[in-house]
């Protein structure tokens, strides 16, 4: 291993080894899972995330709205997968990988959302989250918590999980 990388890793280890308590005093910290959908980076609270799964095989369903991508089998459990782009009426531009599924759960409701790349966990101060800018159109404001300085769009997982439209659809099915 090169000396540069070694020093980098050392610096990182030192940074990680420091006490996070000092920051906590200033504001409330939430942990999010960051992922990329086409071009934008989104974040979702990790407490509602059950697991990240690689999409290997799925079954498309007939007679459902277009945002229901299909159903997958995760270790014997059948879960629906929602395409957020269609759900939020985002424009279809570029080709994403769409081979990752983030499985959300709040104890009652459980389903997967499609993602291109999963970056990992990230800690965000609540104060840093700003209101929804006017440029982000199409997405219902009720599904968003806000946007950080780093242009990370934080989704409201709680609202998503308790959404009536998804539930109604499931009942119809």
């Amino acid at each position: 291993m090169k000396k540069e990388n070694r020093t980098k890793l050392k610096n990182r280890a030192i940074a990680m080894a420091q006490e996070p308590m000092q920051k906590k005093e200033a504001s409330i910290i939430i942990e999010v899972i960051a992922f990329t959908l086409v071009t934008e980076i989104y974040g979702i609270e990790s407490i509602f995330v059950k697991e990240v799964y690689t999409l290997t095989d799925f079954t498309p369903l007939p007679g459902v709205p277009s945002y229901i991508f299909g159903i997958i089998n995760v270790r014997g459990q059948i879960l629906p997968v929602i395409d957020l782009k269609k759900f939020f009426n985002l424009p279809e531009k570029g080709l994403g990988e769409l081979n990752k599924v983030i499985i959300l759960s709040n104890g009652q409701m459980e389903f997967g959302i499609l993602a291109d790349v999963v970056h990992g966990t990230q800690e965000i101060e609540l104060e840093d989250i700003r209101g929804v800018p006017s440029t982000v159109t199409g997405i219902g404001e009720e599904y968003l918590k806000g946007v950080t300085k780093e242009r990370l769009i934080v989704l409201n997982a709680k609202r998503l999980l308790s959404d009536k439209s998804i539930v109604v659809n499931e009942e119809v099915k």
Partner: protein, 544 residues
């Protein structure tokens, strides 16, 4: 028409026409004389006799009257009978004359017949009265007879005589009429003869003038033409006279023919002379040119002679050069044979290079295939790195769920994630390198293919070069042969040049002779030209 007649015929015609006129005149005058004579004859033989007879009749009547008076006067019977007989004889005489007179009267004279009838009536009356008187006398009635005589017979006799007088007067009138007729006829005849004579004279004059003119005019024309021809002018135009049919016309015609023939021959002579002149001058020019040309030729021949000498020397030089050339060509033949061998070696070497290139190409292809399989391995490593990344994320999630106890695990999960990212980066680097390697191998494949092609071209070219060198060898062998031939022929050339030198000297001599003869012919041409000029002058005297 007159022009076409022969002169003799013309003369005969004119004289005969005049003759006809004269005959007519003579005939007419003779006839007239005859008519006059008949008329005069009539006057003399008929009219005069008639007059005489009438006078006789008057005389008889008077005699009868006298006899009757005598009877009356005498009054004697014997005498009376005598007188009576006398009266009867006189009366017979009278009747005879009367009858003769009647026979002489022409049928057309009706007036005479009327008068004669009148005479007869008065005659009958008078005779009866006279007879009565005589009867009275005989009867002795003398007184009564005288009375009858005086009262009736005498006036009757007077009337009778008066009637006969009337006949005489009538006859005289007729005579005068006849004479007037004769005069008239003679006047007409003389007028007619005068007119005819005048016409005849005029005709004679006209004919003589025309005859003279018709003869003299063409004669003058031919005279003039002859004068002109004598003076050498042949432009006389006699075509107008040629239409004549007489001897003069024929004369003019033959004149015209002569002039035409003369004209034609003069023209021919003229053309010939001018052609002679022009050809003589051309000959003169040509001979002059030839003379100058032969001088030039002589100069050229001498130049040529020197040139031939130079050429001969040059030929000797070239003979030597040809020998040298032959040697060097031999050398070059050897060199080209060596070149052939070298080229064969090159062809072999090129073939070996080609084989080596094939091997290289196969190796590169294998390399390419292996780099493909390396790509597959890299893909699976990337996949694994991805999965370990996911594992790290899941571990982090699990750690977050565990709360404070999971914090240490979260750190571990983050490290795993970093590791996975690093391995991902490394695989991407490896992938980049592999891409470079693949590009390089495909370039190598292309390069080896091009190299193969170049080697093939090299083989072809070396084969071609071998062929070229072989042809070169052949041609250098031919060149050797040619050089030998050149050497031989250049020696022959040297000999030939010597012969040419001798021939050139002969030509030189001949040229000098030609020059001399050309001067002579030039003189001849000059005299010919002068002759032509003289002839031309002679001919030009004729006007054509």
């Amino acid at each position: 028409m007159l022009k076409n007649m022969k002169i003799g015929l013309r003369l005969a015609l004119s004289f005969s026409s005049i003759l006809v006129f004269m005959i007519v005149i003579i005939f007419v005058s003779l006839n007239q004389i005859k008519v006059s004579r008949t008329l005069f004859d009539q006057i003399i033989k008929t009219n005069n006799i008639r007059l005489q007879l009438a006078n006789n009749m008057i005389n008889h009547t008077r005699e009868v009257s006298i006899a009757l008076r005598n009877i009356l006067l005498i009054n004697e019977s014997k005498k009376t009978l005598e007188f009576k007989n006398k009266i009867d004889s006189i009366r017979n005489q009278y009747d005879k004359d009367f009858k003769e007179l009647e026979g002489l009267i022409l049928n057309d004279d009706t007036m005479s017949f009327v008068i004669i009838a009148k005479i007869r009536v008065s005659e009958d009356a008078s005779r009866q009265l006279n007879n009565k008187v005589v009867d009275l006398v005989m009867a002795g009635k003398h007184e009564e007879a005288i009375l009858l005589m005086n009262q009736q017979a005498s006036p009757s006799v007077a009337a009778w005589i008066k009637d006969i007088d009337e006949l005489i007067t009538h006859n005289e009138n007729r005579t005068v009429m006849r004479i007037t007729e004769v005069e008239k006829a003679q006047t007409a005849a003389s007028l007619f003869m005068f007119i005819l004579g005048t016409i005849a004279i005029l005709l004679a004059i006209v004919i003589s003038v025309l005859m003279t003119l018709s003869i003299t005019r063409p004669l003058t024309l031919s005279l003039k033409a002859a004068d002109l021809i004598a003076s050498g002018d042949l432009t006389v135009d006699l075509t107008s006279a040629e239409k004549r049919g007489d001897e003069l016309g024929l004369l003019l015609l033959s004149f015209s023919k002569m002039v035409r023939n003369l004209c034609g021959s003069v023209k021919d002579i003229n053309e010939g002379v001018s052609m002679l002149g022009s050809s003589a001058s051309e000959i003169l020019a040509a001979t002059t040119q030839i003379a100058s040309g032969s001088a030039e030729t002589a100069a050229a021949i001498s130049e040529t002679t020197t040139t031939v000498e130079e050429v001969r020397q040059v030929t000797q030089l070239s003979s030597q050069k040809a020998k040298n050339l032959s040697d060097s060509v031999n050398q070059s033949a050897q060199v080209s044979q060596n070149g052939q061998k070298a080229v064969d070696a090159i062809v072999d070497g090129m073939n070996r290079i080609s084989e080596q290139m094939d091997i290289i190409a196969q190796t590169v292809v294998r390399l390419s295939e292996q780099s493909q399989s390396i790509g597959g391995i890299i893909a699976s490593v990337t996949d694994m790195a991805d999965q370990s990344n996911l594992l790290a994320v899941n571990a982090a999630i699990e750690a977050a769920k565990a709360g404070e106890q999971g914090k240490g695990f979260a750190v571990v999960a983050r490290e795993i994630k970093n590791l996975a990212e690093q391995s991902k980066q490394s695989t991407s680097q490896v992938r980049n390198i592999l891409n470079d390697v693949q590009k390089a191998t495909s370039a190598a494949v292309l390069a080896t293919e091009q190299g193969n092609k170049a080697v093939e071209a090299g083989v072809k070219q070396s084969v071609q070069a071998g062929e070229a060198i072989r042809i070169l060898t052949e041609s250098s062998n031919e060149a050797v042969q040619a050089a030998i031939q050149i050497v031989a022929s250049s020696q022959q050339q040297v000999i030939g040049m010597d012969q040419i030198g001798v021939a050139m000297q002969n030509i030189n001599q001949a040229g000098t002779e030609t020059e001399v003869s050309m001067v002579q012919s030039e003189k001849a041409a000059k005299s010919l030209n002068e002759l032509g000029q003289k002839l031309k002058d002679l001919v030009e005297r004729f006007k054509v």
